[in-house]
């Protein structure tokens, strides 16, 4: 075999290639054998500690309706279990069920009032010894006109829902 002006013996070159392959294999084996798990276990432990610290024990009571971005507030309290009225640009939802569009319900609130009345009756049946608290959770998109939200809030007391919980995203001080 001729490379440039030099002539190499075939046997020598093959030996060289074999040696190189053996060296590579030996290097690879060393790399696998040298893998330490300590750093990975450290990282896992840190992750577990962080996730345990941020673990919320109270169950998530509400699902935020699609199309609703809640406003943020500092002085938010814990949310109580209550029917959820959602106002979004896509419509008005009561417990995730579409009742109608905002404009329709502002002109004719009967469908919403009927549903609220049904929910109240159901609550009374399941809690015969207790007085109806009138709690309702209100989710409204932060960019909705506040006049629309105020009108819906004004309708709720007619069905004895006087304690309105305005759902917000809790933010730190």
């Amino acid at each position: 075999m001729a490379i440039g002006s030099q002539t190499l013996k075939v046997g020598t070159f093959q030996k060289h290639l074999l040696k190189r392959n053996q060296k590579r294999k030996a290097r690879k084996r060393l790399m696998i054998a040298g893998l330490t798990l300590t750093s990975m276990v450290d990282m896992f432990s840190l992750l577990v500690i962080f996730l345990l610290q941020s673990f919320a024990t109270s169950p998530e009571l509400v699902m935020v309706t699609k199309g609703v971005t809640l406003p943020a507030a500092i002085s938010a309290q814990e949310l109580m279990d209550a029917p959820v009225l959602s106002l979004s640009t896509e419509g008005v939802f009561l417990d995730q069920k579409l009742i109608g569009s905002v404009d329709e319900l502002l002109h004719n609130p009967e469908p919403l009032m009927d549903k609220l009345s049904d929910l109240r009756d159901l609550w009374q049946k399941t809690h015969p010894t207790e007085k109806f608290k009138g709690e309702i959770s209100l989710q409204a998109h932060k960019d909705l006109p506040s006049t629309i939200v105020s009108q819906f809030m004004g309708m709720l007391p007619s069905q004895n829902y006087g304690l309105i919980q305005m759902a917000v995203v809790s933010k730190g001080r």
Binding site: F44, F55, P71, L79, S137, V149, P157
Partner: protein
Amino acid sequence: MASAGGAPASGGGRRKSLDPEINLVPFIDLLSTCICFLLMTAVWMEIGALQVKQATGTEAAATTSKSVEMDVRFTSPTKIEVALKGGAKHAPKIVVADADQTARLTHLNAELANLATTLKLDAKADLKAQMGQLISVARVTTTTGVPYGDLVAVMDLLRDHGIVNLGVVPVRN
């Protein structure tokens, strides 16, 4: 040092190694399961609530002559007026106007802090508790062009100053 696999004991197998080998594989399995569970059940957005008590039936007229009512009014999307009604305590009307929402809220926050001095509350005692006792209810009246987020921000500020009994006046567009 702990490692994933066991190493052969030195010294011809007669003596046991003084460096005990801990099998890390089950430990890593446990940590991985913990991480998966915590990641799946983590609550990334904490939802809270601002309590609003809407007057029902004759409740609105049930306030005593000694109690002070706060009237918070959006006269325009960029202007807020705060006035006290009833009771023995008097304070000049607060007017806050700014196109920037953050600046407007900062100004209102400062004015509400000054209100404690104007009403001659005991600076040594808890000002928020005193404010809450003095002001029986704060009614917020919105106007056209005010987003719901701005209304919530003002109500959040009132709550932060100890005024916990809040109501929203229904306003038509």
